[in-house]
Amino acid sequence: MAPSDDFPISRRGLLAGGAASVATAAVARPAMAEAAPSRAPASPPTAKVDFEVNGTAHSLELDTRTTLLDALREHLRLTGTKKGCDHGQCGACTVLVDGRRINSCLSLAVQHDGDRITTIEGLGQPGNLHPMQEAFVVHDGYQCGYCTPGQICSAVAVLDEIKAGIPSHVTADLSVAPAVTPRELRERMSGNICRCGAYSNIVDAIVDAAGVKA
């Protein structure tokens, strides 16, 4: 059934309408009708992937659409890595791959064959927390706790990036090594959203943990 005449839809209007184009894509495809689908459903392709997570080797046969995030959360049941948006917008899924931080929702598990992955569970556990985890507890660098594993993984990697001399957008002088300053930390941590708004405490925690390391 077409939309009512007093509310016409044009291609231009729909494109401008952004997500509403989804509505009309469906409207414009009435022919799919009640007939059975023409092609038989195929089982989804799978692939084998071998990687190391927190020092343990894993060999998984995965639907190739599986993200690294879902491989960790759903297949290995390492649910410390969080799914906040599944679109690389929030940073809750941050893990360390070969020492570098990535959004695990933005890469497929099969891209990580042979990689060494560290998740929040691999940094430390209750009774044996990583200094960064300890610092977050002491400085109350979290509230609901959902972005926290991503913040902590990111923070650990940030200190390593600064130590390695990697500059950021706010590094004023590229000829000298960047330092652990609140300004550098705020810039480098900005891919990790905390809606509870613990930012001020998180920066305090990272500064503290950086001192512990030094």
Partner: protein
Amino acid sequence: MKFDTPATENPIDQLKVVGKPTSRIEGPLKTSGTAPYAYERHDAVPNQAYGFIVGSAIAKGRIASIDLAEAKAAPGVLAIVTAASAGTLGKGDFNTARLLGGPEIQHYHQAIAIVVAESFEQARAAAGLVRVRYTRDKGNFDLASSLDGAIKPPAFFGTEPDSSFGDFDAAFASAPVKLDEHYTTPDHSHAMMEPHASIASWDGDKLTLWTSNQMIAWSVGDVAKTLGIPRENVRLVSPYIGGGFGGKLFVRADAILAALGAKAAGRPVKVALPRPLIANNTTHRPATIQRIRLGATPDGKLTSIGHESWSGDLKGGGPETAVGQTRLLYAAPHRMTAMRLAVLDLPEGNAMRAPGEAPGLMALEIAIDEMAEKLGMDPVAFRILNDTQVDPEKPERKFSQRQLNECLRIGADKFGWASRNPKPGLTRDGRWLVGTGVAAAFRNNLNEKSAARVRLDRAGRVIVETDMTDIGTGSYTIIAQTAAEMLGVPLDRVEVRLGDSLFPVSAGSGGQWGANSSTAGVYAACAKLRTAIAQKLGLDPAKAAFANGKVSAGGKSIALARAAADGEVVAEDMMEYGDLAQTFQQSTFGAHFVEAAVDAATGEIRLRRMLAVCAAGRILNPKAARSQVIGAMTMGAGAALMEELAVDKRFGFFVNHDLAGYEVPVHADIPSQDVIFLDEVDPTTSPMKAKGVGELGICGVAAAVANAVYHATGIRVRNYPVTLDKLIDRLPAIA
């Protein structure tokens, strides 16, 4: 226990544990990723399947037909439920729109189907194969053009939409100095980090939901009502909640559709709302248009205060109560407030952190700043001059505690307010125009009934059980502190179990009532347990002192654990309230101070300093309370500078419905923040003598930011958010 006379001295006043800045007791779990959130309960029940929700692609109209053939035939699909196959569903008391739409569609992204499959990838792919044909109706999506049709809504939670005191019209007409301005606040999204998520499992006709929900008892009732089953057949489990801010006060589609999907598939089903669905599928803070009229004498006394607010909601919804604080915040003999409600076909509006006060103070506290300037007065001094110690509409009714002026004075002192150039647009720091702004914070205190069960086990450990939730507020920790104080044991001897509907019904988390109310419930249960323990030990309950793991009375001192030598001692009680909240106006107060810098060429706004001074009764845990306040200041900064759900007024939906498009503050946006709590105890609120603080922290922040931007630039922006496009063509000439 009934609390109907002001509290006298009690064991909490020892403050050996309560009032200390204790780190959160669940901190090691949260920081190590071992605190389990709803979607993560692989341990809860075996054989979980995955559900994926399909949202309506139109805002208003009907589903003409749904073709499920291709989706049903997709690999791994176990079941698909739509309104056509779900059977008769009710609607929860706290929902405005139905949680499963169809054939009628009430708003964009209203859930219309759940696809259940063996894997997440399969469920998502099959959901994309659901073919829907819609008949779209014209909807009403624009608040500004709907004001004429806006109606006077019925009383909302006991509050009439209109108030009047004295003769506002005459007083305003004759006022020597007047302000009459309109302000707008946009729709806001809670955007909590954890998407709404649930795992549903049926055992016969009994349903268990591991979910993410702030209000367990409300939601048990609404799940039962929606599914048409007895509430005793519903169990909710919600020990960890990845943020709520009001967005998880209610049952949402994840819970109901997980339950329907699980029934259809004959297996447990887990569902999380995809991030791009959340803004339109769930609730939001409604936009407002506000008119404020202030009349004053030349020496700065307010003679008349008028505040009107228009907002919209789906049919059957309620107003954004943006005028509430204006009835209580400043003195003036002549006053009026009014709320009007338009029917909009946008997604459902509902509570978000400090509903009413947050957008109301965004407007009022700019207006106060403007009036101070008209009068040539300092905005701190102007507020102090117009303070009231009584309910302005009922002068015989006093505030239980009101330290707004102290908050303003102390804040001004700490912030260095005295050195401020009163003229705007004159303070430069290199390329930056620098300004400071102030705003008052106000939020009422609410007490809600709350129950708890407390056990003493043979090992001398104390276990607290209540369906209270911890949404990041610190409930676990302050409840443990309360029980430790009451029973004289160290904090690590207390275990706190929350968020399970098998536990006694608590106040839940909302309206900043959670901290005081839930700990008061624990106080009541502990008081009962103290009596039981003393009796077990043969001591006089009236004289027994509980300290250092011992109970002492009449010269005898016995180890606490001895009372449980032959089995656990258990007590359960509920705190209820008399009419002290009617006798006294119980409110929380604060003052926000902000320094902002505006790029003289580009209009880019950067926050440099933020300070909040709060007076909110006893602070049960200064570390957690401070975090609540800085977090609220951060959300207030978002409201000031970036947060706005963009409405597509043709198709009726929020366009920027993910975390890339709906901007919230990130690390780089937020400077170092300071919080000062004034020393205050409020014996009228509960034996804890506490009040809430989690919503107070957001109240007024955005206006303080807007006022700072005005002071920096001389440009008054009355339409939030204050973004550089509203400054760029009016910035002072660059010298």
